[in-house]
Amino acid sequence: MAAYVLRRLLYGIPILLGITVVTFLLFHVVGGDPARMLAGKMATPEKLAEIRHELGTDRPMFEQYLEFLRQTVTFDFGRSWQEKRPVGELIVAGLAPSLSLAVPAFFLETVLALALALYCAFYRGSFVDRSIVVAAVAGISIPSLAYIIFGQYFLAYEWKMFPIFGYAPLPGGVAFLLLPMVIWVLLGLGSEVRFYRAVMLEEIQQDYVRTAAAKGLPTGRILFRHVLKNALIPVITRVVISIPFLMLGSLLIELFFGIPGLGNMTVEALNRSDFPVVKAFVVIGSVLYILFSILTDVLYAWADPRVRLR
């Protein structure tokens, strides 16, 4: 397994290089001149030259790319062009708010989706199964912005069930995170239930399930020990690959609820052409994605003894 992991890590290097090249070109060829934005309305050629010099964007492209590679290796992305603070410091500051929303919400969403999917698969064709499937499809069809706007307006403003806006660190700030969490769960629940229901249905119709039932095993044991465990591979794929995205935060929810997380920061950085911050997000996101892909493979072997990592 160690050799497999090492080989996958090595495969990750060219992928990461490709990502850095694309990101660099997008910002330097398509993205325009950041000095123009920073110079403001009273720009002069001299002022623009000064800013380019300070940012280092007047250096040859290859030299700038090498600097980007150095930053990628050292994970030191310098200072934000807008905030004038170290990028690492900004990311650390945004990580806790993002995770305090994303982790419990994602956990709740996954548990609820698995439970509902298992129920639907087991009682397939029943009134409740059909209702849940219809609700799931309807839920998927509604744009995410609608959930946020209606949730904030009705649940928080009209019915005063939750605070409208704001954030405070946990545990004191749990009230601020409840509504964003509910919206997060509702946003993802439809597609998760549909996916897991399909997985469970396929598994529940396998011969070994019928054999287990014929042997007289209790229903719960069949469902949770056998069906759920054998359905774990697609579940692991979906769950583990989602984890890097949790760290990058939820863009819209954070914006609307004033959660100072990484999603919020990403939008701000893109709007302001803050290349050091965008670079950091792209590289960290890519590295996490590669690492969690490898972790997924490792977990396959753990979940299914038939899988061999070579």
Binding site: G32, D33, R36, L38, A39, K41, M42, A43, T44, K47, L48, E50, E54, E83, K84, G94, L108, V111, L112, A115, Y119, F122, Y123, R124, S126, F127, V128, S131, Q152, F154, L155, A156, Y157, E158, W159, K160, M161, F162, P163, I164, F165, G166, V174, A175, L178, L179, V182, I204, V209, R210, A213, P218, T219, G220, I222, L223, F257, G258, E268, S273
Partner: protein
């Protein structure tokens, strides 16, 4: 109990926990439980980027810097037309007869707020040396200042200093610019003694005094820069009415009263009509600041900001575009009764700006020659701005005829832009006039190649383009869009690739020169003359007026310059936005000023009135949470019933 039922019960418990916690937290939806009285709640619409005055290039930093720091001068809070009054200065500057030397005497006894950067943590008295240091730092290239333009080329020796900073090592904690470190002397910026500053200009610059009221003109102690270095941006040390108690750039900043703030009082006289405005002069003569705390919250989306105001968690709000119809009557353009009944008041203030369509005057199609001028004039006439005002802007804009706004002393009330629709003219008449302009110049609009308009990627810009396309089609002029971001458009303007595009310019100070510089030849891109307009007569008049102190003769020159650019139709002069602000009845003293939003110290909130109103607005409704809980319970019950009745489906 079967395992499946247990799982269902677990799910039920989770759902019930959410509902119960929500119901319980509902009792805590007051945004500021336990807050001390005397707190003003206001907001910004973008993330805060610190408090360094050299970085005050955008709205949020400008607001924070102006309200924390003091400048030599500030705008009279209530006076309209705008005028300056001394802030740190004792009086208005003494200007030499040749207009080159400004002597400014400082108030005595103005102290910095206590801060660990001072010996013993006790703030010292502000001196003229601090003014010199702050202005030099503004010109330091290594500080990446956004405001060096206010002094560039103006003060004797300052450009040489600016050049010297380019080769100096970067030092964020630099607290002095000494000859030992090869910084040249700056004869144009001298502390004559502890309480006198002398500014010597390279040539007369009558607008200088306005720039001294800008956030870039803020004064701070070198000790703060030395102590905090790069973190100075997050540790303001100032003589202003507040100090920072809590700061989270993406969330909020809490300011508290500076106990060592100098004696200052609310103005006793306002502009015409101020006496009739609720809360405008109620605190006349009272000691400033009028509140003990200010909480500035970051709202990047307008919906939560609007809901916060409605619940009484914000004391004032600019009406967001998306909520305009819910607050403002579509016919009368006044506040709806549902808001008036709650005592909420509406202020309508025109912004000091011009929204315009720029033509690239170097472009052969729309810029060069008599025929191109006729095309520009015809376009200006044919664009149906009345329709756009009504349907695109909900009447949130007002007509502008030229670049000199009515708040400026040089404004000519008799001036009418001949290339705009007259109030008494019908759409058909103005189109006939446009056709005649083209015909007189021998232009066949159908033979013209399509004009390319740069359009930004927002819905409103796209809609405005479609409206322009429709309007000009009535003349037979075709327009096509070139979609770009703001940044791309600026770069295309710099490279002279834009034919026409929509832009706006907000005033930096209330003088015609601030807008007329947009037509001055040497200010060509990347400078503010985005139209690349080159007119020798205009440039000559501009040069002549630039060194003149305010006078009737200078006003005449500015008016003549306005006539030239309007006659040449360099811009389609469109309109200016109206700022609609709502105030709760417990908010006193708020006055909109987009030039200098220095209002924190002048605002007061009536805590008793706010508490009473908020208790009513925030009364918890128990019905909806219970209904949602019942719905969840019903779903779970149905699941259990199905589980019991359904035959297992292996």
């Amino acid at each position: 109990m079967p395992l499946l039922h247990r799982a269902l019960l677990a799910c039920a418990a989770v759902a019930a926990a959410v509902v119960v916690t929500a119901a319980l937290s509902a009792c805590g939806t007051d945004a500021y439980p336990g807050e001390p009285p005397g707190t003003l709640h206001t907001y910004v619409v973008s993330e805060m980027k610190g408090f360094d005055p050299t970085q005050a290039g955008e709205e949020t930093t400008t607001l924070l810097v102006l309200n924390l720091y003091d400048q030599l001068y500030e705008f009279d809070y209530l006076a309209r037309p705008f005028r300056l009054v001394p802030c740190l200065a004792e009086a208005m500057p003494e200007v030499s007869a040749d207009g080159l030397t400004y002597t400014i005497r400082l108030k005595r006894g103005v102290r910095y707020a206590d801060d660990p950067c001072f010996p013993g943590g006790r703030g010292r008295e502000l001196t003229a040396h601090d003014v010199v240091f702050s202005f030099l730092r503004l010109m330091d290239v290594r500080v990446e200042s956004k405001g060096s333009w206010i002094f560039a080329g103006r003060l004797a020796g300052l450009d040489a200093f600016h050049e010297a900073t380019k080769v100096a090592p970067k030092n964020p904690a630099r607290a002095a610019y000494t000859a030992a470190e090869r910084y040249p002397e700056v004869p144009g910026l001298v502390a004559v003694d502890d309480h006198t500053v002398r500014l010597t200009l390279t040539e007369p610059y009558p607008q200088l005094v306005w720039t001294l009221a800008m956030p870039y003109g803020s004064v701070y102690p070198p000790e703060a820069v030395a102590t905090y270095g790069e973190e100075f941006m997050n540790h303001p040390v100032a003589t202003g009415p507040y100090t920072v108690a809590e700061y989270s750039p993406a969330q909020r900043v809490v300011l508290v009263r500076n106990p060592t703030y100098r004696a200052e009082t609310y103005p006793t006289a306002g502009a015409e009509g101020d006496a009739a405005v609720h809360g405008r002069l109620d605190d006349a003569g009272k000691s400033l600041p009028l509140n003990d705390r200010v909480v500035v919250t970051v709202f990047k989306e307008t919906q939560p900001m609007w809901l916060y105001f409605q619940r009484g968690f914000l004391d004032r709000v600019g009406v967001p575009k998306d909520n305009f119809d819910s607050a403002i009557d579509p016919v009368t353009r006044e506040l709806k009764a549902s808001f008036r009944d709650r005592g909420i008041e509406l202020d309508k203030d025109p912004r000091l700006e011009v929204i315009y369509d720029l033509f690239n005057m170097q472009d052969p199609g729309v810029g060069q020659g008599e025929k191109a001028r006729a095309v520009r004039r015809a376009i200006s006439l044919a664009l149906d701005q009345e329709w756009a005002t009504r349907h695109m802007y909900n009447d949130r804009v007002s007509r502008v005829d030229g670049p000199i706004l009515e708040e400026f002393p040089e404004f000519d009330p008799a001036f009418r832009n001949p290339w705009k629709r007259r109030p008494d003219e019908t759409r058909a008449q103005v189109l006939d006039r446009a056709r005649k302009v083209l015909a007189d110049a021998g232009v066949d609009p159908r033979a013209l190649p399509p004009i390319e308009q740069d359009v930004q990627e927002s819905t409103i810009d796209r809609q405005l383009f479609l409206a322009s396309q429709r309007d000009l089609a009535e003349l037979g002029i075709q327009v096509k869009a070139h979609t770009s971001t703001w940044q791309e458009m600026q770069e295309r303007i710099d490279r002279g690739q834009v034919q026409t595009c929509g832009l706006s310019w907000g005033a930096d100070y209330p003088e015609a020169q601030n807008f007329l510089q947009l037509f001055y030849g040497p200010n060509k891109p990347p400078g503010p003359n985005g139209a690349n307009y080159q007119n020798p007569e205009f440039d000559r008049l501009y040069d002549q007026a630039a060194t003149m102190q305010p006078s009737a003769a200078r006003t005449a020159l500015y008016r003549r310059m306005q006539e030239i650019v309007v006659d040449d139709c360099v811009w389609v002069v469109r309109y200016r936005r109206l700022q609609f602000t709502l105030r709760h009845p417990w908010t006193y003293g708020y006055r909109y000023n987009d030039l200098s939003p220095k209002y924190f110290k002048f605002c007061r909130v009536d805590d008793a009135a706010r508490r009473g109103a908020n208790a009513e607005a925030n009364r918890v409704a128990f019905g909806p949470p219970l209904a949602i809980g019942a719905a969840v319970a019903g779903l779970l019950a149905a699941m259990v019933v199905v589980a019991r009745r359904t035959k297992r489906g292996w």
